[in-house]
């Protein structure tokens, strides 16, 4: 609109020309200079009119990445505590080590190879670019050339990096108490360098699934199911803990040794999940982004709340007691369920989506036990089962659009969206499961995955770390 003002000025100059050519020349020069200045003024005013100046947007976007990324990093502590609380005390220090180590390794591998494999040059395909050592480039921004939606390169890298660690954390919980530390680390290396980035490229890297219209906002499938499938493969290849399943087929529960820690871990995850889902808006530079993130926080919270309450009620009804560990799993289940679409449902819908997750987890845990798959912390139930549910449930509240041959943009129907979501679930599931199986098998063949039976009996803490998690609190009572 500023253009009209300049036009008017030009006209004024034209009027002057009728009276005094010299003056008119001056005025015209001034107008020309004003016109030169116009783009800047224009951009500035556009920006103000559009609400948020571009550099301010840049700061907001970057801020969202690093603050939300820090919250996701914090989830690593959540997994560490949840798993520490749910294993037996003789394996507690080992699970602590695995959790801090996997977080470290995941970041390093994602830097060395993962990020580019996931995000560079996927172009609708099946894999990104194989290049070593990611590096970002912020020069244009430092020169002031911002676009709407731009952010510091490293802030995005940081945010994506903390996500990959989450996937690895899921695996550690399932195969806890019986997997050699270095073998587990090796699997983590492959998972975070290749498996996760490849499936990630299909959607977030702009690969074939994203072109097909698949939708997974913050990673019910891309992060949680991927972790869950890798965990499932691990649980099968590594086998159950000695003593978990009796000869007669009955199950021998091995209660978690420190439930307040497990509770703390769940709260940490809950908090971190605001970063996980909120940051996945990938921007905070406009009111629309801020509104979206606010909705995401509320929905994320309420899905978890729904998961807790649903799990508690189902436990009470079916078992007559309220199993704390199930309530905790219910929270995680709710969170995983909402992760595929935390922005589109209403709060009420979010409670329901999370609530279904909470119910699923209560039934999935004993079912997986019955399949003789030993999942120490219930990660397969919470992350895989609810990851699938959440991904499919997207179709209820959100449908992607596509362009018809006629060039029209129309939204998919619920049914079409469901089909696309199912395609994503199955394809990513198949790839991850098969790839993980192969990797676990190779590691087993070459290095072995389990300590000797007596070592497992003694506990990995003694054997692999040479220490005890709680050396002063007595030992052996867990066996009576």
């Amino acid at each position: 609109m500023k253009r009209y003002a300049l036009l008017t000025l030009g006209l004024g100059a034209a009027a002057l020309a009728l009276i005094d050519p010299a003056l008119a020349q001056q005025a015209t020069d001034a107008a020309a200079e004003a016109a030169d200045a116009a783009p800047a003024v224009d951009a500035a005013v556009d920006a103000v009119a559009a609400g948020v100046p571009l550099e301010t947007q840049f700061i907001f976007n970057t801020l969202s990445f690093f603050i939300h990324g820090a919250l996701v990093m914090w989830m690593a502590a959540g997994f560490a505590m949840l798993e520490s609380g749910l294993v037996r005390s003789k394996n507690t220090a080992t699970i602590c080590l695995k959790n801090i180590a996997l977080y470290a390794v995941a970041g390093i591998m994602y830097y060395i190879i993962g990020y580019d494999l996931m995000y560079q040059g996927v172009d609708g395909g099946y894999i990104g670019t194989f290049s070593l050592f990611w590096s970002g480039d912020d020069t244009s921004f430092l020169e002031g050339a911002f676009e709407s939606g731009s952010y510091a390169a490293t802030s995005d890298w940081y945010f994506q990096m903390v996500f990959v660690a989450t996937a690895a954390s899921i695996v550690s919980g399932t195969v806890a108490e019986r997997t050699k530390a270095w073998s587990f680390m090796l699997f983590t290396v492959i998972l975070t360098s290749f498996i996760y980035p490849i499936t990630g490229s299909w959607q977030w890297g702009g690969g074939w699934l994203s072109e097909m219209g698949f939708s997974d906002f913050a990673g019910s499938t891309l992060v949680h199911s991927v972790g869950g499938w890798a965990a499932l493969a691990g649980a099968i290849v590594v086998g159950a803990r000695k003593g978990k399943f009796n000869a007669d087929g009955s199950i021998n529960p091995m209660p978690g040794s420190n439930l307040p820690l497990a509770t703390l871990g769940t709260f940490i995850l809950w908090l971190g999940w605001f970063g996980f889902n909120g940051g996945s808006q990938l921007a905070l530079g406009s009111a629309a982004d801020a509104i979206a993130i606010a909705n995401i926080y509320a929905n994320t919270n309420m899905a978890a709340a729904g998961g807790v309450v649903a799990a508690m009620i189902v436990c009470q009804l079916f078992y007559g007691k309220i199993d704390l560990t199930m309530a905790l799993n219910g929270a995680i289940a709710g969170l995983v369920s909402i992760t595929a679409a935390p922005d589109s449902p209403t709060i009420g819908q979010a409670i329901l989506i999370g609530g279904v997750g909470g119910i699923l987890v209560v039934f999935a845990v004993p079912l997986i036990d019955k399949l003789k798959i030993d999942d120490v912390v219930g990660a397969i139930s919470a992350h895989l089962v609810c990851g699938i549910w959440g991904t499919l449930a997207v179709s209820l509240t959100y449908q992607t659009e596509y362009e018809t041959e006629a060039g029209e943009t129309i939204a998919r129907t619920m049914g079409e969206q469901f089909a696309v979501q199912a395609t994503g679930v199955v394809s990513i599931g198949a790839f991850t499961l098969i790839a993980s199986f192969i990797v676990w098998f190779v590691i087993k063949a070459i290095f072995g995955v389990r300590p000797a039976e007596e070592d497992e009996e003694l506990g990995l803490d003694k054997v692999e770390l040479g220490l005890e998690a709680y050396p002063e609190f007595g030992q052996g009572s867990q066996r009576v």
């Binding site: 199950i251 209560v362 036990d369 009576v480």
Partner: protein
């Protein structure tokens, strides 16, 4: 001298201790144990899987007494520890050949 060893329900410990001090006994030693017996632990459900708890928490009280106190001590413990419900525990009496008080070197009855 005799060693009276009683396995009791944990929450009865205070009553047992009081009944023994009421008899004039000056010392006893307590150990946390787990008991297996006729009293069956409840069937519990953990994460959807049923299991039965076979060991239950108990407390072992050991008190050394001169032989002629045994009768009253056993009686006092039995009375104080009894709830009438299964799992109340046992009292065993054994011989002590010799007793020494470490601090003073006093022996036998004087040591208690």
């Amino acid at each position: 001298m005799k060693l009276v060893m009683a396995i009791i329900k944990p929450f009865k410990l205070d009553e047992v201790r009081e009944s023994l001090t009421a008899l004039g006994l000056q010392g006893l030693t307590v150990t946390e144990v787990k008991g297996f017996g006729r009293q069956k632990g409840q069937t519990e459900i953990y994460r959807g899987a049923e299991y039965s708890v076979s060991f239950l928490p108990k407390v072992k009280v050991e008190v050394a007494v001169v032989a002629d106190q045994v009768e009253s001590v056993v009686e006092a413990i039995q009375k104080a520890a009894s709830t009438g419900r299964i799992g109340d525990g046992k009292i065993f009496v054994m011989d002590i050949g010799r007793a020494v008080r470490i601090r003073t070197g006093e022996t036998d009855a004087d040591a208690l």
